[in-house]
Subunit: 104 residues, 2 copies
């Protein structure tokens, strides 16, 4: 395991609350984390595309102000992914704490 990509988990969690487009997802994550978590677009879009490819999220293309917006929402599969990755994250945080607590 070893903590690599937390972005899929963050995206899944964000979409579980509300369907949003890519740009808004990034802003939401940044705002909720008070600026600490700040993923760039070069990271976000590829991640969004791979989550869509594996069926965890689905895109709805709608037209706003004459321009296309890709609104993403969580699928059932994505919901299961979210649960699994949340547990995984909690496990890693717990393990890190065990090590960081040092010898007792």
């Amino acid at each position: 395991m070893n903590v690599k990509g937390t972005l899929p988990l963050l995206v899944l969690q964000t979409l579980s609350e509300e369907a949003l487009h890519g740009y808004a997802i990034a802003q939401r994550i940044k705002a909720r984390s008070k600026g600490v978590l700040d993923f760039k677009e070069g990271t976000l879009y590829p991640t969004l595309h791979s989550l869509e490819e594996q069926g965890s999220i689905e895109a709805n293309s709608i037209v706003v102000d004459g321009r296309i917006r890709h609104i993403y929402r969580l699928t059932d599969k994505g919901n299961k992914m979210l649960e699994a990755q949340s547990l995984e994250w909690a496990k890693i945080v717990g393990a890190m704490n065990n090590v960081l607590a040092g010898a007792k």
Copy 2:
């Protein structure tokens, strides 16, 4: 930021308790985390070498059973690194929790 390498932090913390050689560091981390955190040798040795290069740890080469052992210990600089990275990690965990807590 965004959580990438937690291994340097783990190594620094482990060595702050006791000077150890590479192989033992990996085992210590795995044991303390109850098997959750399990970094491979291909990851560990390069990390050890780069920590040594930047002056965070120092190696003492001693001979045990006719073979050379590289015992690493924390330097003053490494201690400062440890403190900084611990804070960094706590910050990220807090930020992740804020996002995962969702809208309230």
